[in-house]
Amino acid sequence: MRNVWTIIKKEFSRFFKDKRMVFTVILPGLMIFLVYSLMGTVMENVGKTDEDYKFTAYVTEMPENLAAAFGNGFELKEYSDAEAAKADVEAGNLDLAIFFPENFGQTLSGDVKIFYNSSKDNSNNGFITVSGLLNSLINPPFTINAADGVKFDLAGEKEWTGKMLATFMPMLMFALLASGCVAVAPEAIAGEKERGTMATMLITPIKRWQLALGKILSLACFALLSGLSSFIGVILSLPKLMGGAIDGEVATFYSAGDYFMVLGLIISVVLVIISAFSIMSTFAKSVKEAGTLISPIMIIVILLGVFAMFGSSTSTWLYVIPLMGSGLAMSAIMTFTITPLAFVLAIASNFVLAALLITAISFMFKSEKIMFNR
């Protein structure tokens, strides 16, 4: 028993006397708190319809006793016939086309038909709002969209698939790239430091930025390769995973330009992630410590992907935030709504941040405290 106690004492002093170790335990919690608070604040503006937005709607047979309830939040539009209104919903120019049954005001029964487009945030939210409104105002026996064989969601297959891809592609991109980076970053810098092979290069005339850049670029390639192999795995399993909801036809929805943009985003994202991980790896004393220091950043990166799941943003300034902008841009590419400005902002912010991080690494390479801390 005494020996167990001796070991426990040694382990505890190893742990608690090393300020860095304690720090790495506290860090993930702190990071999660910060990121969630940040997400909470920003998320209120994203994927939601503005408070004072008026849903556009075409309504037939509007019961007079309901008109007041619709009064504020809706802007009613006139159409020559029902089909024209539905076509506009499908095209995304009109949020809703609502058809009340005859004499709905008196009978409060029958089937209310609401056509909407789930690939558009406003239309989708409008549908939810109207259904909720009706259900809160009057008690059934009425129904909403109960008719068989009618397609009420007018989103085209292309839009619908795009919308679905938009929900998980950013997250998938971040998760796969980050796991690719985490596989190579600790070894490449902390490992070399630990084994003393870094110092051998540091006494040669190589400039610190050259060493940093050379490392980052090659690591980025490895991470891309590893990310690519997992991506192919995901793509191949996707049709099965989605139960046939997505098939090979999806690939044809996107243009060559879309693919190039995705590629550009991926490259810029991997550069940011690998640079951020490399900073931690440079700072760490050992490969093991590098792993611990990287994990909170890994969490942030993946959370940013989750964040982008909540829809593409209408405010362009969000695209300026590195990584997060790329998640949003990825979503926007998937839903065919990307603008050139948003794309350029997203990608440029990544390159700028990566350049700053690589510069920081060069300075860290010059610091004897960081390079020779044991």
Binding site: E192, R195, A199, T200, I203, T204, I206
Partner: protein
Amino acid sequence: MEEILKLENLRKTFKISRKQQRINRTSDTVKVAVDNLSFTAYRGEIFGLLGPNGAGKTTTLRMLATLIKPDGGNAYISGHSIISEEAEVRKNIGFLTSELKLEDFFTPNYLFDFFSELYDMEKSVRDARKRELFTKFGIDRFAEVKLANLSTGMKQKVSLVISIVHDPEFIIFDEPTNGLDVLTAKVVTDFLEELKAQGKTIILSTHIFSLVEKLCDRVGIIVDGRLIALDTLENITKENSLENTFFDLYDKTCGEKL
């Protein structure tokens, strides 16, 4: 005589822990590893830095090799400051110390090429030099064996060769014969003499008296980071053996009878 290395009050301190402070019975928060060291080495000589464990030899050499920065003073190699002209210094020196490791995964052949590229050497020059050095140290027979599979002595020879790929004028060797058998050690010391004959300047740290007696033209004896003697080997060993001179000096400066 041309001055090729000049130390001016070079100083280096390291932070020490609270507990260690109590043991040392001081309120000093730092340990002075190198304490205002000044000396000069001239072209074409082998300068020996002799001192016991913990004297500050390695720390001094690491500063000269620009791995760590001094807290005070400065040093010049071929006129270039180790503080403000790191790049020039790095081009002109070769540094061998146990702290600098080579990647186990690679072969001597690959590593030689890799480092010669970092030193921006021409391919033809590199190949000729590689052939010459590999043959001299018997590395040629192991040129394509991963370092991990080489013996300690062979690894040390590869490290030595890599440290001078670029044919530097000024060579810093920290305990070059540590851990080597007499045969391998002799290969190394013979090579040092050969380098000297080629007109290179060598600064060599060691705690082995015989090595100094065998190789060095001038000696600096360093204890506790301070230089306690500096002269030609001839003068230092005039009246007594190097070993006895060292003990006498140690008694005088540290005030303790050994």
